[in-house]
């Protein structure tokens, strides 16, 4: 039990370290506005967590700080000039409606960040999908101006990418700052995989389905471009690391997690190439929650059957001794 608690906390610390790095990058590109937006998300989440836990009659412990990582994931998926009040509402929604109503971190059903993103997608879609150009510095209270659609949007529509590979790697393209820094995300993925802080099965499943489909049904003129840009656009890498491969949501057994990630990514790729739906993987992750739950139910049954078999075997072994 002690080990489990420690493991949970270490996972949270690992995830937080990678998220803080991405947040730093976000601040580098968009200045103080991005910093404050992240702060607002964290503050709203912590307050919502404190109040809802109090209403549930539970104490706020260090483990409940997972709401901070969820808040940062949400903040990193937003345009830097996104309305702060809307961001705060979304964070409260994530904590209350997508997590604590179902029992909080002890009984997770949905990824709070994915739920909050879809919530914003349905209520403030235009604001959510319009971004400032990188290096646009604005004041904390400035309203959004001169916004452009994301690089992912142009890729989904035209199959072409105007940014260079170097710009893509550094995240110097229009889009949610935390989700476009590909180099940092790749490093974060490797670190989290090595530290076993994300579900390797779900992550590998998600990436392999995207690569496989990008090769079979290219979204660009060449297969190499298709693979490259498909992985870099539509938050595929970001969502694969922080949403699909979230250990709290993905099935525990790696091969089940692989299929969960594989099908979610496959479904979202097909949506992207057929309907040009931006950031489809985040929407699909929420929709695939019942699939993850189905796999988890299956895992429970297998565990039960194995325990039963083991008990029967032990009984048979014990029988001759009794005789």
């Amino acid at each position: 039990m002690q080990t489990k608690v420690k493991t949970e906390r270490f996972i949270w610390i690992d995830v937080m370290v990678t998220l803080l790095t991405l947040w730093l990058m976000d601040c580098f590109y968009y200045g103080v506005r991005a910093f404050v937006l992240g702060g607002v998300c964290v503050a709203a989440s912590v307050i919502a967590e404190l109040v809802s836990l109090r209403l549930m009659g539970r104490k706020f412990t260090a483990d409940d700080l997972t709401c901070v990582s969820d808040a940062l994931i949400i903040a990193l998926m937003l345009p830097a000039l996104f309305d702060m009040k809307a961001a705060a509402i979304a964070c409260v929604f994530a904590v209350v409606a997508a997590k604590n109503i179902f029992g909080g971190r002890l009984n997770m059903i949905f990824s709070p960040a994915a739920a909050a993103y879809v919530f914003m997608y349905t209520s403030w879609k235009n604001q959510l999908l319009m971004f400032p150009e990188p290096h646009t510095r604005t004041g904390v209270l400035d309203k959004a101006a001169n916004l452009v659609s994301s690089a992912s949007h142009s890729f989904n529509i035209t199959g072409k990418m105007s940014a260079t590979d170097f710009e893509l790697l550094l995240g110097n393209v229009s889009g949610a700052a935390g989700a476009v820094s590909i180099l940092l995300l790749a490093v974060a993925a490797v670190v989290l995989l090595l530290r076993r802080s994300i579900s390797a099965g779900a992550f590998i499943g998600s990436i392999s389905a995207t690569v496989l489909l990008a090769l079979i049904v290219p979204a660009s003129h060449t297969r190499l471009d298709s693979v490259k840009y498909t992985l870099c656009c539509n938050m595929v890498l970001f969502a694969s690391v922080y949403i699909t491969a979230d250990r709290r949501i993905a099935p525990k057994r790696e091969y089940f997690a692989f299929f969960y990630g594989f099908f979610a990514a496959m479904f979202s790729y097909i949506l992207v190439i057929t309907t040009a739906k931006e950031n489809a993987i985040v929407l699909v992750s929420l929709l695939f929650t019942p699939v993850a739950l189905g796999f988890k139910n299956l895992e429970k049954r297998i565990e039960l059957a194995q325990a039963q078999e083991q008990a029967e075997a032990d009984g048979e072994e014990a029988l001759p001794d009794e005789e």
Binding site: L55, A97, I101, T122
Partner: protein, 169 residues
């Protein structure tokens, strides 16, 4: 809301005259037919007084005739009561449904469209998703949970406050 109350009240009252010894399926069919007949004059009156509402409500309007109070509760609950008790109980059920409708509609309209009864109010961040069917699900679920919480707190307070004993002994 008025239409819901009228259809439900009249249908359940008229349905209470259906002979009890008939098979369950026959009773349900007769009750549903009664509700469908009651629906005709109610719709005519509603069209006269609230023509816009009928268009806006669309297919949901005829579905009032198959609401659970008429098709399920009438047979499982109301049919087992004496007529006087049944009428009183039915009125409170309908009032309860109406209260939920008013509260939910008021809050959803305010938060999703920034209006109260169609009149604009000063709200700068609107949550348009709450005006959609999924918003209704989530909002109703949250309100239902909050209501249960308040009810359990009140009940606990009543239990502990009854004899002044809070020790549980």
């Amino acid at each position: 809301m008025t239409d819901f109350s009228a259809i439900t009240f009249l249908s359940v009252i008229l349905g209470s005259f259906v002979p009890k010894r008939l098979p369950y399926a026959a009773k349900i069919i007769i009750r549903a037919v009664i509700a469908s007949v009651v629906y005709i004059p109610v719709r005519t009156v509603a069209r006269e007084f609230f023509p816009d509402v009928i268009t806006r409500v669309g297919i949901y309007f005829p579905l009032l005739a198959v609401n659970s109070l008429i098709v399920v509760q009438s047979e499982t609950k109301f049919a087992r009561m004496k007529r006087g008790t049944m009428i009183a109980s039915l009125v409170f059920y309908i009032l309860g449904f109406d209260a939920v409708m008013i509260v939910t509609a008021f809050l959803r309209e305010l938060l999703a469209y920034g209006t109260i009864n169609g009149r604009l109010v000063d709200a700068d961040t609107l949550i348009s998703g709450l005006g959609l069917p999924f918003g209704g699900f989530i909002f109703l679920g949250l309100l239902c949970g909050l209501y249960r919480k308040v009810r359990s707190v009140i009940r606990r307070e009543n239990e502990t406050g009854g004899d002044g004993n809070v020790s549980g002994n």
